[in-house]
Amino acid sequence: MEIGVVELSRLQFAMTAMYHFLFVPLTLGLSVIVAIMETVYVMTDRPIWRQMTKFWGTLFGINFVLGVATGITMEFQFGMNWSYYSHYVGDIFGAPLAIEGLMAFFLEATFVGLFFFGWDKLTKLQHMVVAWLVAVGSNFSALWILIANGWMQNPVGAAFNPETMRMEMTSFAEVLFNPVAQAKFVHTVSAGYVTAAVFVLGVSAWYLLKGRHIELARRSIAVAASFGLASALSVVVLGDESGYTAGESQKMKIAALEAMWETEPAPASFTLFGIPDQEARETKYAIHIPWVMGLIGTRSLTEEIPGIGQLEEENAEKIRNGLIAYDALLTLRQERDQTPQDVRDRFEAHSDDLGHALLLKRYVDDPRDATDEQIAQAAADTVPRVWPLFWAFRIMVGLGFTFIGVMTYFFYRANFKQMRFPRPALWLAVCIIPTPWIAAEMGWIVAEFGRQPWTVDGILPTALSVSHLSVADVLITLIGFMLFYSVLFVVEIGLMLKYIRKGPVEDVEETDAWTSRHIQRLSTSGEDPAALAAPAPQPAE
């Protein structure tokens, strides 16, 4: 493959977006967890909960700042690298981005400062409200960006305007209540909650293994396990919902991530394992589970899920239809008000497939000159590379079920086994800390790589979306971002580890005094003091 501006721009966008999403999920989840902890503090007045709020708040802050910093890039990169995309769909896509700023960014950014600087300046209740506003702001921002992204996957509520050569909004409500966007939002936010729950669980488990900050760690595990269990269930259920809505709108994506080369009789089977071979269009060593795919994709036993071969043929047909629309468009643009009615009608009838004709722009300047081979080639382009999707999807789903298992286990031990955690389980919790990030990034690969060759599904091809830049331009910024982001990553991880090792440093005396009084009280009231003291394992050193 020749490396040109399109490939470099894609690489840069993928890299900066995936890097941004290293920080976002933890922000989404940890903001809520911190707000929950502070709420417990306000309700019970127990200083340990304030200490927990401040400790996890510090880690939240270190992470949050890189989410903000790398988010700046995202807001401007569409215009910098994807200028034709920005022109072509800005009328719809820009709106949720601007609303995100108005509704979400201002909220979280204005109050996050007060969260850290306001401990002495606000009442307890005011400070708790501030913590919740930060959490709500972060979560709203996910809502709006996923409405924008959902529209790229399932472009509803918009129509092409020949006079302005772009898509224009026809219904804000349809864009807003796009089912793909709604399912994506809950799925993504839940994934963020799971990430934060696994993070809090893992760090707390490490404290228990080291015999440090026992009281803080145990309470943190209790919060993380309950919150994590609910979120892990939600992420899988809503992931299934995403699969269902994707099945409605993006049949090719579903077929590719299932490596369904040909249409199967309903209900289709699910391929648990296999090695997809794109050339031969077959999946080697496949292990099938009957019925499952049909159920996920269509929620019926009789509806067929189309395979890749069938979809490719349909797309070739759409390209030919699109060419009719393209031809009419050129007349419309020339004649404007004087365009004959039959040309208008022809355009209206086929304008849904206009985007497919644009796929030919990669091969010919005027798509109407395309040969049959070029049309076949463009139709073949609509098949994404199967193996990355196939595997990314399986890794994501496998991890999703793992999180349910781990969270269920810790929830059970925390609530029914007096917080006694076997050391291997604690080590497991430490070891799985990175996995939610892997699952989240795999999710984005499924969503975005699976959308290729389109930036907006069926509307605008990726190859046409880029800016008029030179390879040198994009190479400079790509290398620049890589170096810069790598340094920031090292700095961030270093600080994170430093503050985790340091543990809670604030209100230590007050909290310790309260904790010992509390244990005393429990032991004299007849409860088993061992329940609180015993699970503290011996330090490893």
Partner: protein, 387 residues
Amino acid sequence: MILFEFVSFELLRVVWWLLLGVLLIAFAMTDGFDMGTGALLPFVARTDVERRVVINTVGPVWEGNQVWFILGGGSIFAAWPPLYAVSFSGFYLAMFTILAALILRPVGFKYRSKRDDPRWRTAWDWALFAGGAVPALIFGVAVGNVLQGVPFRLTDDLMPIYEGTFYGKFLGLLNPFALLAGIVSFSMLLMHGAAWLALKTEGDIARRARTYGTAAGAVAIGGFALAGLWLAFGVEGYRLVNPAITDGPSNPLYSEVARDTSWLAAYSTRPWIVIAPILGFVGMTMALLKLRGAGEVSALLWSKLGILGVISSVGLTMFPFILPSSIDPRSSLTVWDSSSSHMTLFVMLVVTAIFLPLILAYTAWVYKVLWGKVTEDDVTSNSNNVY
């Protein structure tokens, strides 16, 4: 939805042009002092604790202030998609430089005082300097280039094409007039940062800030005057050849544009706009005087008025142009031909009308909570929570 037709397309375009100005001015008024403070940091504060005081004056608020910039980007995307598409890709490497500098800022604020190593802290101090100074300069340079026209044209598909080699595009931005505009914006924001520090600090820091601020103010006033003269005699202006169709489709190629006039011709057709440069001069001069005297709140307020005057001068002078093209005047973007659709502008106006007042209200509340000077004692006694 038929509702949106109650507000005319023409009116919505003017309102969104005004809102674009409001966002840019709000950004310069709020994040402007963060950038000015960053640029002044190594000079007004010598010891570590002094530097922490300076950083903590903006510590709790810079993040909210920066959202004006992000929202500016988002709103241009939503309301002026062609402007978003052409400008950010046309100024590609300049934008990258701004982004890199702006990314340094959050990280610098948050991470600088999280390690005790003096080298670590000094390195971040200079990162914060760059994070303030570089964008403050480049924003002005960009405005200077916009006034002279940018080398782009639109194809029949409305795809923006730029002329010149990539380094030519970048270095070409650094022409004399644009550099002058850069100096105006840089010195103006430096003065603004100084006015902020005069309000939020005391003792040596405040005294030094006043000295730097006075000098920067003098440069800004002189530069603004010089730029006005240059615009009168050295820069060609643009005009629409035919009367504008104000509610037509957003296609820049439908209009004829000539480049045979002076931007300052606007002051004879719309004499009232002279109020903008007057506000610029009055605001900056009064801010300078208050910085030399003892004004605290007043210096900052006058400085804000000066910023309002300077930025609105540019917008009002160019109206209805927002991004003229130097190589193909017909491709120039104007208020009448590069907006979003009627419906999108209406929906976004409704959303803005709901949320902008809310934002102003809670931002004001946060500033009220944080009112008062930041002292060395504040920083040392609360070392874990502040920057």
